[in-house]
């Protein structure tokens, strides 16, 4: 049926004028793919599905959301009221909001696994450096987008999260105070901040789409890496359609089951997806006892928090991102896949564990023990990148196969 559609007169007419059929054939059908990609490679397609869910549900939420901190009595605000109106009065509004809230967490979950896969099979290495950089940029834009978005319900966590994170800008020497007011549009987080965060939350997905487009374009020039980390050769190549369309569809199906389970049966994720305290309206006079970002931001937040100096904490957090960007040049081993790199593989697992520990610590109130554990995890995080340029000198790699 697909062939018949692509050969139809309408398709031909369009193709003569836009080359659209050629693009489809080149990028979605004939696109050469290594035949040994496992299910870890489905997360790219899944991420695209989540992005579409987020944009669609987000636009519908924006139709009923009011970005105003105007008080409406007993501590409530117009923004908070409008969200509850979506949850209660708008037909199926609760579903659309939960899709969006769970979608945010799902997006990070998928992206983190997608990145972990890239790190494990060495997909960041030459010639895929640019692909990797665009990927890290996607993560940064996503984190900015979700940060803007989390302010919108104007609950306690929204308000205090935004207050704490925007304060980061204030620590930059010289321009800090100016920058802080520039971000907030006032002397504190307020109505103006809410308005502009809403505008930016709407804008950033466009940037995201642009960078995702470039990410995919870069992929389609250098093509997919594979679990063996070697060039697939003529015999190792199969067309994207139908092999990976159906394989990705299955992956998307499994993802949708997990995603829907959360949307319908645990939409707040026991406080991990929508924090319990965010059902309290924002109160600028009362700081909640433990302000922690949502789980997907906590590893970076913990790096920030584990440094007892405000400015150095920010430098540390920024450096954590810089390390990710630099990864293609830090790693100098000629072998790509961790399958054949025992030392790198062990380091990688320790690195993943450190992120998990950082995330755990960042999500909990500071205690002396957690502070120490968080600091050790921060050291491990940076030690991974610090060791990376030297691993190839002593690592005895296992023999790489000739073909896949």
């Amino acid at each position: 049926m697909l062939e018949r559609m692509l050969n139809s007169r309408l398709a031909q007419w369009l193709d003569d004028r836009t080359h659209v059929v050629q693009y489809i054939r080149f990028h979605l059908i004939d696109y050469p793919t290594p035949k040994n990609l496992n299910y870890w490679y489905a997360f790219g397609s899944i991420a695209l599905v989540v992005l579409i869910i987020q944009v669609l549900s987000g636009v519908f939420l924006a139709m009923d959301y009011k970005p105003s901190a105007l008080p409406t009595g007993n501590g409530f605000s117009m923004a908070f009221d409008s969200i509850e109106r979506i949850m209660r009065e708008v037909n199926d509004g609760w579903l659309i909001r939960y899709m969006h809230a769970v979608g945010a967490s799902a997006f990070f979950f998928v992206i983190y696994l997608h990145m972990a896969r890239g790190m494990y099979y060495g997909s960041y290495k030459k010639p895929r450096e640019f692909l990797w950089i665009m990927g890290v940029l996607i993560l940064v834009i996503m984190q900015a987008t979700v940060f803007f978005g989390y302010l919108l319900p104007w609950g306690q966590m929204s308000f205090w999260g935004a207050t704490v994170i925007t304060n980061i800008f204030g620590a930059i020497p010289g321009i800090g105070d100016w920058l802080l007011q520039l971000v907030r549009g006032g002397y504190g987080v307020g109505d103006v901040t809410l308005n502009r965060f809403f505008a930016l939350h709407f804008l950033f997905p466009f940037l995201l789409f642009a960078v995702v487009f470039w990410h995919v374009m870069a992929l389609h020039v250098v093509h997919s890496n594979n679990p063996e980390g070697i060039e697939p050769g003529e015999k190792g190549i199969i067309p994207f359609h139908p092999y990976y369309t159906v394989k990705d569809l299955f992956g998307i199906g499994v993802f949708l089951i997990v995603y829907s389970w959360f949307v319908f049966f645990d939409p707040t994720g026991h406080g991990l997806i929508i924090e319990t305290n965010n059902f309290n309206p924002a109160d600028p006079l009362k700081t909640p006892p433990d302000i922690t970002p949502v789980w997907y931001l906590t590893p970076w937040y913990e790096i920030l928090r584990s440094v007892p100096n405000k400015l150095l904490g920010i430098v540390g957090m920024a450096f954590a991102y810089v390390c990710l960007f630099l990864m293609p040049w830090l790693d100098r081993s000629p072998v790509r896949s961790a399958r054949y790199r025992p030392v790198y593989r062990a380091m990688l697992f320790v690195f993943f564990a450190s992120i998990g520990v950082l995330g755990y610590c960042g999500h909990h109130e500071v205690t002396p023990e957690l502070l120490l554990i968080g600091r050790i995890a921060s050291v491990v995080y940076f030690a991974f990148f610090a060791l990376l340029p030297f691993v190839h000198k002593f690592e005895k790699t296992r023999p790489v196969p000739e073909e896949i």
Partner: protein, 229 residues
């Protein structure tokens, strides 16, 4: 030498105290009382009545109108029942206390919080509300006056004075007070998210559909990939 100093600096940093943020040492609350909430019409109606007769003296439900008590099928009140409860209040107006914010501040020092989302905004949800209502005790230190000492409230001192008369209740009242607390906790847990039963019901259908669809995708994938290996 330099390397040695770097290690020392690192160790020193690990031992540095953190910034502020350590929690104030508060007296810990005991674990919440176990309770099974139920969203059947009988319990929810009873909860609505307890709310209107007791809680509404001070608290409002800003997102719940009188009409909602009829419109939400889980509560399913009749027009007559609602008319009796609402008095002169318009049908489409939110359920609101007659206590003004000024009077509340004068009497209690604070404005009583709105209760629509209380079950969502507290750890433990309905169980917290249930426990709080049954958490009034005599202050062992004798500082907090009777009726304002509550073991489940952070800091133990609560402005709300024992609304159901739990403190020093008679043995034969116990079952009734517990039933009232359970009913109103169920009611508040329900109105906190009025579409929750609809959500779960729809969720079952969606999941069944997705499992079948995914199974189909898996069969298709297996079929198509026969060519490759």
């Amino acid at each position: 030498m330099k390397r040695w100093m770097a290690w020392l600096a690192l160790l020193g940093w690990l031992g540095l105290p953190g910034g502020p943020g350590s929690a104030l040492a508060e007296e810990a609350a005991p674990p919440l009382k176990p309770v099974t909430l139920s969203f059947d019409q009988k319990t929810l109606k009873q909860g609505a009545h307890v709310f209107a007769e007791v809680c509404m003296g001070c608290h409002s439900l800003r997102y719940v109108t009188w009409k909602h008590l009829m419109d939400y099928p889980e509560i399913g009140m009749t027009r007559e029942e609602v008319d009796e409860m609402r008095g002169d209040a318009p049908l489409t107006a939110p359920i609101k206390t007659a206590l003004s914010e000024e009077d509340a501040k004068a009497s209690y020092g604070i404005v009583p919080p709105d209760l629509t989302l209380m079950a969502r905004a507290r750890e433990g949800g309905g169980a917290y509300i249930y426990s709080l209502l049954l958490g009034f005790e005599h202050d062992p230190k004798g500082k907090v006056p009777d009726g304002n000492y509550n073991v489940y409230f952070p800091g133990h001192r609560i402005a709300m004075a024992d609304p159901l008369g739990w403190l020093d209740h008679d043995a034969d009242e116990e079952a009734d007070i517990k039933a009232q607390a359970r009913a109103v906790a169920s009611f508040l847990a329900f109105v906190g998210e009025p579409h929750q039963l609809e959500r779960k019901a729809l969720g079952k259908k969606v999941l069944i559909f997705l499992v079948v669809l995914t199974l189909l995708f898996w069969l298709l994938k297996r079929e198509v990939w026969k060519d490759v290996h």
